[in-house]
Symmetry: C2
Subunit: 426 residues, 2 copies
């Protein structure tokens, strides 16, 4: 049990024990989680060599992997159609195990429709054709010569959080619900550079991007977005793309639904009308309560989730905790994140951790004094364009129970008196 725990200002700023975001910033934080030992015991313990100090460690490695004690930290795989289509499904990033805004490349979520192709970059090309002055073809080695841009950005599947978008309230982890969002430092060539080289014809309005995978996944993208900030990514988190993220070439559309950031990209065709492909008609459209569906709803809306103190964490009794999580918006920067400890009646403003980047995961944190009674923790984000995360009931009312894309409602985690945490449909 903790011996003592204090912060510089223990006055709650909202119900349920939420403290000022500055309480952890100013001077003494005494959590009291450390065990007291006598000076003699401390010295004695440290004089005797540990087993790891008596054994030669393992040698150097060309490419490192995580500790064997972290084997549980992996993507959670959910096939979409079972054994019938083994390459169709998703794998979720285990958000509850992670800290910081960069997702390790090995844990970036996956959504494939027909598996991960094994592409030799020496054989791969990108063709730019259709309504252009000069159709062009680029090898990967040629693309590597172009000026590069880097941005740390999230990619979120349009179907992220769909497991709770209906009336079900499954008891899953934070990552299993919301882990179809990940964030990387993407580096590559701007689409604009190649389109200008090819010469855009005046009647071009859309660009069809197509993947070289067995699903031949294709989407229609407004030309304006392609000229604005679209990137042909060659690198992810410093190294070349991972195969499951589109190696050797991925289109990345900042802030827009992940399905459009075409992996294994092999062509950009400029056209005057959208192609009406499978993934922009029968899928990735937003069914409304009146039975009509919205098409081409591209940006991912403002969203946040508490990751630390989420299902799987077990609180060790009443006391001081840090509540932290991630917020993001496809519309721009996060302006604020608020946290509630009383079911949404009152809210405390969380601290946003630098850097706060546009269309990028943003970390937030707030100190919380738990009195040991059952409570629900929620977070609500607002972006610089004024979008605010809706409460779950409001989202359901607006979209109905059959709409599973673009779910961005406030997530509540219910904490019971024993310190267990689970998904609550508040």
């Amino acid at each position: 049990m903790p011996r003592f725990m204090t912060v510089s200002d223990p006055t709650p700023v909202a119900g349920g024990g939420l403290l000022s975001r500055r309480a952890f910033l100013q001077g003494a934080i005494v959590l009291g989680a450390g065990a007291a030992v006598s000076a003699e015991a401390a010295d004695a313990h440290l004089t005797a060599a540990l087993p790891s100090q008596k054994t030669l460690g393992r040698p150097f490695s060309g490419y490192g992997v995580p500790s064997r004690f972290e084997a549980d930290v992996k993507r959670s795989i959910v096939p979409r159609y079972g054994a019938m289509a083994p390459g169709n499904g998703v794998s979720f990033t285990p958000l509850e195990f992670l800290q910081g805004i960069v997702t390790p490349a090995g844990l970036h979520f996956e959504r494939h429709h027909n598996g991960v192709p094994d592409i030799d970059p020496a054989e791969h090309t990108l063709t730019v054709h259709g309504l252009v002055e000069r159709p062009l073809r680029f090898g990967i080695d040629q693309l590597l010569r172009y000026p590069m841009t880097s941005r740390t950005m999230f990619i979120e599947c349009s179907g992220n959080s769909a497991r709770i978008a209906g009336t079900e309230t499954p008891k899953l982890s934070c990552g299993q619900i919301h882990g179809l969002v990940s964030c990387s430092e993407w580096t590559g060539v701007t689409v604009r550079t190649l389109l200008e080289e090819a010469g855009v014809k005046p009647d071009a309005r859309w660009v069809v991007a197509e993947g070289a995978d067995a699903a031949t996944l294709a989407r229609s993208i407004p030309l304006s977005k392609m000229l604005d900030d679209a990137v042909l990514a060659l690198y992810q988190n410093g190294e070349r793309l991972r195969p499951e993220q589109g190696y050797p070439l991925r289109l990345v559309l900042p802030g827009w639904e992940g399905n459009m950031s075409i992996k294994w990209l092999h062509r950009l065709k400029l056209v005057d009308m959208p192609g009406q492909f499978r993934d922009e008609t029968s899928h990735y459209t937003d069914l409304q309560p009146d039975g009509k569906a919205l098409q081409f709803t591209f940006p991912m809306d403002v969203k946040s989730v508490i990751t630390r103190l989420s299902p799987g964490w077990i609180l060790q009794g009443a006391g001081l905790y840090e509540v932290s999580g991630l917020a993001w918006s496809g519309h721009g920067r996060i302006a604020a994140v608020e946290v509630s400890g009383d079911g949404g009646r009152t809210w405390a403003e969380a601290e946003l951790r630098e850097p706060v980047l546009s269309q990028c995961l943003t970390a937030f944190r707030v100190p919380w004094q738990w009195n040991g009674a059952p409570v629900a923790l929620m977070s609500r984000a607002r972006d610089e364009r004024g979008h605010v995360q809706p409460r779950r009931a409001d989202w359901m009312k607006a979209h109905g129970p059959n709409q599973r894309y673009h779910y961005n409602a406030v997530q509540a985690w219910r904490i019971d008196a024993r310190g267990g945490i689970e998904n609550a449909p508040l």
Copy 2:
């Protein structure tokens, strides 16, 4: 061969063909690296399915790894004493293969003195003792409960670039020379938090940090640094530390020589005088021309290196190229990077890529029009405190040929008429 290549402003701003850093930012960049194809050929090529579109891809994975076509991108391992001490040596980050400021965790450089211990986090503790009011012991689970801080920061070995600090001019890659620097998003608990909980006695001036590895590596660190910005890192690039980076707990001292960022940290002992350990007396001291050695030279100085267009890259003839690289300083933010294409007579200012963070790798780039003649490319960084990278001759004069730590002189890459690149002692 390129068909045509233009930028918005092709006027050189410095000798050797260096262009304005804005030449790539304003409007049309036409590198002309793409191959022209007829509209008919483009369409025909794209109608026939590719092999990867006819084969079901591989299934989902719990933890991803790089493409098999990237197997050459690995750390370069150099044993220090050969078979006599297999756990003693270094492995270098392959900087020439990377883009962006984050180093993939699997490619972070290593420097071990007795191998990588295999530590069970459930058995590992951190003891804070010595000149404190209350000696304390923390398990990893306890530390995970504390407020966390995140910062993207470089760690550089004090012996980085030592292979060229003498009079030798080995023909090595950029990473094999300068790859004992890497950069990660480190997340953990501030040292200050635990020291305040333990209560620092008035006569404490230094803190001895010791690792639980077979080298029992220990260093003495000024208390002021520990209270200022030292972090007990639990996470690296989002996930828990890699074993070779100190799993489960590493001390990270922003901007200071990497040897002091003690891995596998198991104790902090507050003392009144430095311990005069091996790695602060016979090693990691700076031998001067007069035979005396400087001790406790902690911060890593301002430095930069061109990574893209470095040994291993082969230029495909005269034309337009982007020159890019990394700069960093242990003293703070990078203020400017200049690039020379004429052996250091004239310099062009490079563009710094956002974000520019303190004590963090900073990416720079500059457009360069190569006329096909032999040339040497160099970069020179300046930090916000006014430190400037010295020329190699000046560094050698100041430190002499036997000083192998804290080498930060300007690196020149000589490009021959065939487009080959090698290390040049300019």
